[in-house]
Each structure stands twice: as C-alpha cells, then as structure tokens.
C-alpha cells in the first residue's frame, strides 16, 4: 500500500514541476518585479505611481479599454442576432454554420491582419475600387488607425460571441413563447420580459470573455500597426522584448494591470455561467460534445489568440 502511494505521488511530480517552473514562478516573478525599483533592489510602489503619472501609459490603457469595449459590444450585438438566427435553421444547416464560425475563429493574429491589409490597406483591393468608383465615404477610412483596428478586432470577436451565445437560446422554451402569446404578449414584449432576462447571464458572461480576449490580443495589432498605435499589450511587448532599451520593471507593472482586467472579466464570466446554470438555461441543456466544442474555443484568439 505504501509503495503504491509513493508511485502515485511520483506520477504527479513532473506536472507539478512544469506548472511551477513555467506558470506559477513566472507569475510571482512578474508580481515582484512590478514592486521593485529600476535597479531591482528596493520594494516600492513607484512603478504604479509612474504609470498613473505618465500620459503615455495612461493613453495606452485608455486605447486598449476603448477598443476592447467597442469591439466586444459590436461583436456581441452581431453574435447575438446571428445566434438567434442560427436557432431558426435545421440542425444540419446549423452545425455547418457553427463549423464555419469555428474555422474562422482560427483565422486570427498575423494571417488575419495580413488579409485585412490585402482588402483595406493603402493599396488594398477595396481601397482602390472605392477610389475608382468615387465612393468618398470611405476615402477617410484608414486601416492603420483606431477605426481600422476596431474593425479587425470585431472580426475575431463575432465568431467567438456566436459560439458562446447560441446554446443559451435553447434555454428559452417554446412553451414560454406559447404561454406568453396566449396571455396576449407581443413578440417585443416576450423578448423584453422573458427572453432577454433569461439570456442576460449568458450575455454578460460572453461580454467578459470577449473583453478579456480583446484586452490580451497582441498578434493582430502588432502585425497591423507594429508599435505605431499605443495599445497596452503592444506597449508591454516593446518594454520587455523591444529593440529599444527594455524596462522590465515597467513591463511587469503594466502586465500586472492587464492581467487584473482580464482576470476580472473571466471571473465575471465564471459567475454568470453559474447563474445561468441555475436558470436551467445555457450550458446545462446542451449535449456534452457540443459544450466541449464551445468550451475548447474559449482560448483567446486563439483564440484570437486563444487566440490570440
């Protein structure tokens, strides 16, 4: 019995070592780095103070928050409408559409930025065509600006939102619809008083995942604008592994702040999924295989990146 237990523990040691070495220690090292002075000796809060004082870093944070909020809301809106539409199709068609969304959610990061450069870059196909047709509306659009970045971010948010939201529509039972109709509720009234409240946890939870996904997205922005647009994730990258003088302490500080926002957003999702389960809607009503398929895409963009 004793030797057997020893064998069992032995099987766990490699995993424990790997997780310690490549996950826990680096996170702790980053935390401690954010509280150290530039020469790495003294414990201090000055790094955080410097971020708050610096217009440049605050702008990076503001840009990232704005782009994340906008792209998440846009992705959520499109995803919500399309998720509802998907439930109106036969299962065969529905599964094919979901498969397509799943595929395109793999199309993130560098290849995605590249595709958009072909379409809408300075010599992009559409850019030149619009010029030729004289569509002045688009002449002011610039892919390498805030609006262009947001547009590309929305592209990888939509499939993710769709995959996360569509199961919760199956939590709305046909009987409720019929009951509401019998009691004289119109379509709008049904959605306002029954449909949306039932969907609410799934919507807020999805918003959390989308927000975290956009905050952490790096590859797409980096491939599109390099260091020319001030975003938090890109700023961190250049502080730690850039060509200029690296400032690991500042990089750690900004990374801690970024991790706080994404952890908070993912925590929100976690709470909301639990609440949705109490409703008996959302996850719990779906076959496990489909749940797994959706859950495995939670990777940031890769996700992006979970993608990203």
């Amino acid at each position: 019995m004793n030797s057997r237990n020893r064998n069992l523990i032995l099987a766990l040691i490699p995993l424990a070592l790997m997780v310690l070495a490549f996950q826990l220690v680096p996170v702790l090292s980053m935390l401690s780095g954010s509280f150290r002075s530039a020469d790495g000796t003294v414990f201090t809060l000055s790094n955080y103070w410097e971020v708050l004082q610096s217009a440049y870093y605050m702008q990076a944070i503001k840009n990232s928050l704005l782009i994340s909020v906008f792209s998440s809301l846009a992705g959520l809106t499109v995803g919500l409408i399309c998720a509802y539409c998907i439930t109106r199709f036969t299962p065969a068609v529905r599964d094919r559409l979901l498969m397509l969304s799943n595929m395109t959610s793999n199309f993130a990061g560098v290849p995605l930025a590249f595709a958009y450069i072909i379409l809408l870059g300075n010599n992009g196909i559409f850019t030149l065509l619009f010029q030729q047709w004289g569509w002045e509306v688009f002449s002011s659009f610039n892919l390498y600006s805030w609006s262009g970045l947001t547009l590309v971010y929305v592209y990888f948010q939509v499939p993710l939102a769709l995959l996360l939201l569509y199961p919760s529509f199956y939590g709305i039972r046909e009987q409720w619809r019929e009951a509401a109709a019998l009691l004289g509720a119109g379509r709008w009234q049904f959605w306002r008083t029954i449909g949306l409240p039932v969907l609410a946890p799934a919507i807020f939870g999805t918003l959390g995942i989308l927000f975290a996904n956009a905050m952490g997205a790096y590859a797409t922005a980096y491939a599109l604008v390099g260091g020319n647009y001030n975003l938090l994730a890109v700023r961190i990258g250049s502080l730690v592994a850039g060509d200029v003088v690296t400032q690991p302490q500042m990089g750690s500080t900004l990374a801690v702040l970024l991790a706080l926002t994404t952890l908070l957003a993912v925590f929100l999702n976690h709470r909301m999924v639990r609440r949705a389960q109490r409703f008996g809607s959302g996850w719990s009503g779906k076959p496990t295989a489909e749940r797994r398929a959706v859950r495995t895409r939670l990777a940031p963009a890769a996700g992006e990146e979970l993608g990203q």
Partner: protein, 268 residues
C-alpha cells in the same frame, strides 16, 4: 427546438455573416493566385508562381519544419507528463479536481503577453538562463496547451469509467500495469488523439509567446509570416493560405473524430 420554417430575415442575415467571415479568406486566397490585380474586382490573370516560389524558399521550409518539430515535441512532452498525472488525480484523488480546475483555467485568463513578461523575467538571469532557447519556448507551450490536454484526458477517462474498468480488470486477476496498458489506454486513445490534435493546431497558430521569447533566434511559421508581410504580398498570401488550409484539414479531422466520439448524438 422549434420546427417553424426558417424565415427570410434569418437567411439574409446569416448569408451576410458568411460573406463577412469568408471575405478576408477569399481575398487572401485570390491574392495568392493572382498575377495582376489592380483596380479590378477580380484579378486579370492567374498564376501559380507564388506557390512555386514558396516551395523554393528555403527559409520558409525551415520555418515550417521548426514549427512542426517544436509543436510535436511540446505535445509529446505534454502527453508524457499529463497522462499519468491526470489519471492519478481522476482515479485516486478526485478531491483535488477543484484545485486542478482553477489551475488549468489560468492560461485562459492570463494573456500571452503577460505570460511572456513573467517568463522572460524568470529565465533571463540567475541560475536557469535559458532565455531565447527552445527549452523556454517548449515550457511556455506546455502551459498554453495545459487546459486542452487536461480537459481532454480527464473527460476521456470519465467517459470510459476508468476507475471501474481498473477494478474489474484487477478482480479478474490482471496486474495493474497490464490493466493500464491493455484496458485503459486503448479505450481512452481516441479522446487523446483529439486533444493532441487540437493542442497542435493551437500551438501552430501561436505568435505572441514565440515572438517575444525567441523571435530573434528561432523562426516558426507565424514569425516568418510576420517578417514577410511587409515584403511581397503575393508570396505572403500564398503562405497564409497554405497555413490556413493546413489548419482547416486539422479541424476537419477533429470534427470527424469528435463526431465519432460524441456519445448519444444530439438531443434536440
């Protein structure tokens, strides 16, 4: 599931969605085959020269090879470490599962940029100076695929009721090692293949960690693609579309395998 006929509105909206999602892919694909494409809706002439160039490009082939072996080593290492560990936790220490769950969700919640900061800080000085080496990257990759591998192996074990199988085999007189190798492993194999493939495709598309940790020294396919984006657009789109076709094939295999593995089919 409602059985009403699909209306015009959902059809139109989803058609729009499909066009929106496929347009960037289509553009990349057309660009990879286009010889002359200026100011027209479709290219004027077609060519295969970009693909020919791609296969003659030694740096590309090298990057492809680098990607392949780094991903294979990482997935292999992950299997070697995770299989015994997850088996022991699932079968003998189910109490630890809650702790494991919160541990494996961390890679989801911590973006790649943040993970890279910690890794660079830990390994660029001190006793373990492995900054910029493949060792550091493989370690980082191990953490990236931790959630997929853990959930995949765990659900395979639960699906085949590993604990009961093991007890039954031992009751019938099999040694534990024999029971593991001849009963448990063959039963969970399909599920393990699926999670390995999924992990592989995730790592194949990884850019952030790769670029920040070893970008200057080791070129994977993603890093190489990034370096080419500024140069010949046609060649880069040939690479991008080939990469995507590969990912597509992996996803298709995954769907097929996953479909065969799913128990009970759909309950609508």
């Amino acid at each position: 599931m409602n059985r009403r006929r699909t209306g015009l509105m959902p059809r139109a909206l989803l058609l729009g969605l499909m066009v929106y999602l496929l347009l960037p892919l289509l553009a990349t694909g057309l660009y990879a085959f286009a010889e002359d494409w200026q100011n027209t809706l479709l290219p004027r002439s077609w060519t295969l020269q970009w693909f020919a160039e791609m296969f003659r490009d030694l740096r590309f082939l090298e990057a492809l090879w680098t990607s392949l072996y780094l991903c294979l080593i990482s997935v292999g290492l992950s299997l070697a470490v995770m299989l015994p560990a997850v088996f022991v936790i699932t079968v003998y220490f189910p109490r630890w599962e809650n702790f494991m769950k919160s541990l494996v969700v961390l890679p989801y919640a911590v973006p790649g940029v943040v993970a890279a900061v910690g890794l660079i800080r830990t390994y660029s000085s001190g006793p373990l100076d492995i900054a910029g080496t493949a060792y550091l990257l493989i370690g980082a990759y191990f953490v990236v695929i931790l959630p997929y591998m853990y959930q995949g192996i765990r659900s395979s074990l639960l699906t085949v009721s590993a604990a009961e199988l093991l007890n039954a085999a031992e009751l019938l007189g099999a040694r534990r090692r024999t029971a593991l190798l001849n009963v448990i492993l063959p039963n969970i194999w399909p599920g393990i293949i699926v999670s390995s493939l999924l992990s592989f495709s995730v790592l194949f598309g990884e850019f952030v960690l790769t670029n920040m940790l070893v970008g200057g020294h080791i070129q994977t396919i993603q890093v190489y693609l990034y370096k080419r984006v500024g140069e010949s657009g046609h060649l880069a789109s040939a690479i991008a579309i080939s990469y995507f076709v590969l990912i597509l094939l992996v996803s298709l295999v995954l769907m097929k395998l996953g479909g065969r593995m799913g128990r009970g089919g759909h309950h609508e």
